[in-house]
Amino acid sequence: MTDLSNSEGQTMADEPQQDYQAESPLLEAWRMYRRNIPALFGTVMLTVIIAATFYGMFFYTGDAYDIVWAPHEPPGVTPEFPLGTDYLGRDLIAGLLTGGGPTLAVGAAAAALTMVIGISLGALAGFYGGWVDNLLMRITEFFQVLPALLFAMVLVTLFSPSLTTIAVAIGVVSWPQTARLTRAEFLRIKQLEYVTAARAIGAKNKRIIWKVILPNALPPLIVSATLTVGVAILFEAGLSFLGLGDPNVMSWGLMIGANREYILDAWWPVTFPGLAIFFTVFSVSLIGDGLNDAFNPKLRER
């Protein structure tokens, strides 16, 4: 279809379309997404992970914080603890199931914060331009040149290392990219004629920003949001690994961080949470890729 869609395809896709149903672009994207096997695989995998971390402990008896057995029991030796125990003798399966929730929550919260800050500032900068743009972009650049991990470490050390602080710290260091992306989309879309058309029928700026431009700028932002969730999870793990996680709440990062000193004696207490993080981030990335393809109208014609 490559050539047809360029020179002649205009008219081919263009015609008396009585056979067309009223279908929103979102629905069309969903149909595209449904046909993407890796993305579907990622969706299923993430659903399983989320279900396990939220509902797993209802079905699994045991407590992640209790010392239940000898430390460093290898996996597959004791039937009661199939994945073995950690350096204190805590059950690893219970740890994984309990620690997933906070990990995912921190990731999601951080991504949401990133989106809110990034989209707001990017939208204002891109829409108004001029000194507003200059000011906001200088601020963005300031945050962009800060070494993210160091800055997050400072924030967590200054305030108490709670999950909220960690989520905020991650959000504060990772919004600049989203702001830039939003600004670029706004700059592109604001010069399209339907924006002028909205102005010509008397729409106010507020409406033009949020109701006209933003919905059209969303596809790349949604993709970027999914990827941010993955990055935030890794970030949380990194902080915990460095010993800056919330010591009172079980998370995958904390499990790795606490067990890392014994890695030469016992590989399993760090490997299983590591794998859990890997599969989560991997599935989120697959979903992000799938969304990217689904929102790309060029690929839709195939």
Binding site: M1, T2, D3, L4, S7, E8, Q10, T11, M12, A13, D14, E15, P16, E301, R302
Partner: protein, 326 residues
């Protein structure tokens, strides 16, 4: 006399999500030395596909030449090897595209790009090629060509860029020059300049020109003969005068009468219009593909595909014309 370029019963298909779609259906046309053939029709009629097939530039897959022949001096271009096609392309047969900005590489100077085109086909030194490039820029009417040769495409106006494209296309004195809507993106005064330039080049080099356009006015000024295309078929084939003065096919008649006239004293209250739009190629049914938009249809038009036959005046693919109802 055999024609310089002859397209015979060409059939091109594309694999799309609707299955195999016939983009060109037994298309035949020819052009002689020193002659301008106008190919006219709305977008989606197969004009550009015809041009790209002739240049061997149809992407395969999804495209496929399913039948017919394209003969340049008797050599069938659908059968030659890729390397032979490459040497013909830009050599004996060249093409000018619609959008001169995207057809030029933005990171090289125009002089370099023309020189590159020359060196692809002629064994000359780089210095000589650059000299030739400057001479060509001069030939296509670019002022101070030695300076302009050092410019990048974005530094030139749209008209200048199209002149550069023409310089590149004629660098090897092609026997056939295909111009695919060469002035659509340009202003009328610049369009007039480009048309005049193409005519000059034809006079000097004796090239045959295939001018693809949707504008009957351009056909009137430029073409000796005309092939009118609709939905992947040639539906009328005659001299420009015949088509413009006594069009036989209702579509050709519509294309001519829907243009707002400019002549002195001319003023219509209402333009003739062709209702509807070109049907998508994957939805063509049996019979004539123009039947939905035509006012002269009968039962035969719905069932039997009209062939391009001379019913008296000149070849036309229309039952109404054949039965004298037109």
């Amino acid at each position: 006399m055999t024609a310089l370029l002859e397209i015979e019963d060409l059939r091109v298909t594309f694999n799309t999500r609707y299955g195999e779609v016939t983009a060109l259906d037994s298309v035949s046309m020819h052009v002689n030395e020193g002659e301008t053939l106008g190919v006219v029709g709305e977008s989606g009629c197969g004009k550009s596909i015809t041009a790209l097939s002739t240049m061997g530039l149809i992407p395969m897959p999804p495209g496929r030449i399913a039948g017919g022949a394209i003969r340049l001096n008797g050599e069938d271009l659908t059968k030659v090897s890729d390397s032979r096609m490459r040497s013909l392309r830009g050599g004996d047969i060249a093409m000018i595209f619609q959008e001169p900005m995207t057809s030029l590489n933005p990171v090289f100077t125009v002089g370099d790009q023309i020189a590159e085109a020359i060196m692809l086909h002629q064994k000359v030194s780089r210095d000589q090629a650059l000299k030739d490039a400057i001479a060509l820029l001069d030939r296509v009417g670019i002022p101070s060509p030695d300076k302009r040769a050092l410019d990048y495409p974005h530094q030139l106006s749209g008209g200048m860029r199209q002149r550069v494209m023409i310089a590149m296309a004629v660098s090897c004195r092609p026997k056939v020059l295909i111009a695919d809507e060469p002035t659509t993106a340009l202003d009328v005064t610049v369009q007039a300049q480009i048309f005049d330039l193409l005519n000059e080049i034809q006079r000097d080099y004796g090239s045959a020109i295939i001018l693809i356009t949707h504008d009957m006015g351009a056909i009137s000024e430029m073409a000796d003969r005309v092939a009118v295309m609709y939905a992947g078929r040639v539906i009328e084939d005659a001299t420009a005068d015949q088509v413009l003065d006594s069009p036989q096919h209702p579509y050709a008649r519509g294309l001519i009468s829907c243009i707002p006239a400019l002549g002195k004293g001319a003023q219509q209250d209402r333009l003739a219009e062709i209702p509807g739009v070109v049907p998508p190629l994957h939805m063509l049914g049996a019979g004539c593909s123009f039947k939905e938009r035509c006012s002269l249809t009968n039962a035969r038009c719905g069932s039997e595909k009209p062939q391009l036959i001379n019913h008296g005046a000149h070849p036309v693919a229309c039952h109404a014309a054949e039965e004298g109802r037109a």
